[in-house]
């Protein structure tokens, strides 16, 4: 019974992340203001990062709780083998670090571009800009 509740909570987390993903794609396509699109893009990339870390998590086997991948005790062979048996996967965390920095760089560049767009067309509504193009 508790196994079923744990599975239910796990899948509830996963599906709420999928709903975040779908809502942010809806906001990116169907909302006409530029800044709303930038907000939806940041929510989109953050949700993808949470998916990557979610895959690297380790379930509780035999009551051993998972730990962050940092070695705390002095490195004797017993401490290292216990560390391997209880630590979370460190590789997705390193890749997500790179992904956060690149998403931040793209967002900064989009903000600079948005300011130039406003000075040229005096509005940031994409339907107006489409009508005024030229």
């Amino acid at each position: 019974m508790s196994e079923f509740i744990v599975n239910y909570l796990f899948s509830l987390t996963l599906f709420s992340l999928i709903f975040n993903f779908v809502l942010s794609i809806y906001g990116l396509f169907f909302k006409p203001h530029y800044i709303k699109k930038v907000i939806a893009l940041t929510i989109f990339s953050d949700t993808i990062n949470v998916f990557a870390i979610y895959v690297g998590y380790r379930r509780w086997i035999n009551g051993i709780n998972p730990r962050p991948p940092v070695l705390i005790k002095p490195p004797t062979p017993g401490a290292i083998s216990e560390f391997i048996n209880s630590a979370v996967d460190p590789l997705p965390q390193a890749l997500v670090l790179t992904a956060v920095v690149i998403g931040l760089a793209v967002t900064l560049f989009l903000i600079f571009l948005g300011y130039q767009l406003y000075k040229h067309y005096h509005t940031l509504d994409m339907r107006e800009i489409r009508r005024l193009r030229g």
């Binding site: 909570l9 709420s16 907000i39 953050d46 670090l97 956060v100 967002t107 903000i111």
Partner: protein, 87 residues
């Protein structure tokens, strides 16, 4: 009464469902300053989720970037351009 495993999963579920509610309000809000604030609330819940998934490095990157720097830059841009989204 409640085992430790169940408590951790329950906290994960609460923070991710709360983040879905915050994302819905951020996308559907017409006033852009409120939308930026809702996006910062969603980022806080994602930071709690990252901590429960045992990734403390990501929490240290995500908190200043997504709660401090990105809303700050967006608010400066909103101050220089328009504030409301029309129909």
């Amino acid at each position: 009464m409640i085992s430790a495993e169940l408590a951790v999963y329950l906290l994960m579920t609460i923070s991710s469902v709360a983040s879905t509610i915050a994302v819905y309000f951020a996308i559907m809000e017409k006033d852009l300053v409120k939308a930026v604030i809702y996006s910062a609330i969603q980022s806080t819940f994602y930071a709690i989720l990252f901590y429960l998934l045992m990734a403390p490095d990501i929490v240290l990157v995500y908190l200043p970037v997504s709660v401090g720097l990105i809303p700050g830059v967006l608010l400066i841009l909103i101050g220089k351009t328009e504030r409301g989204e029309k129909e």
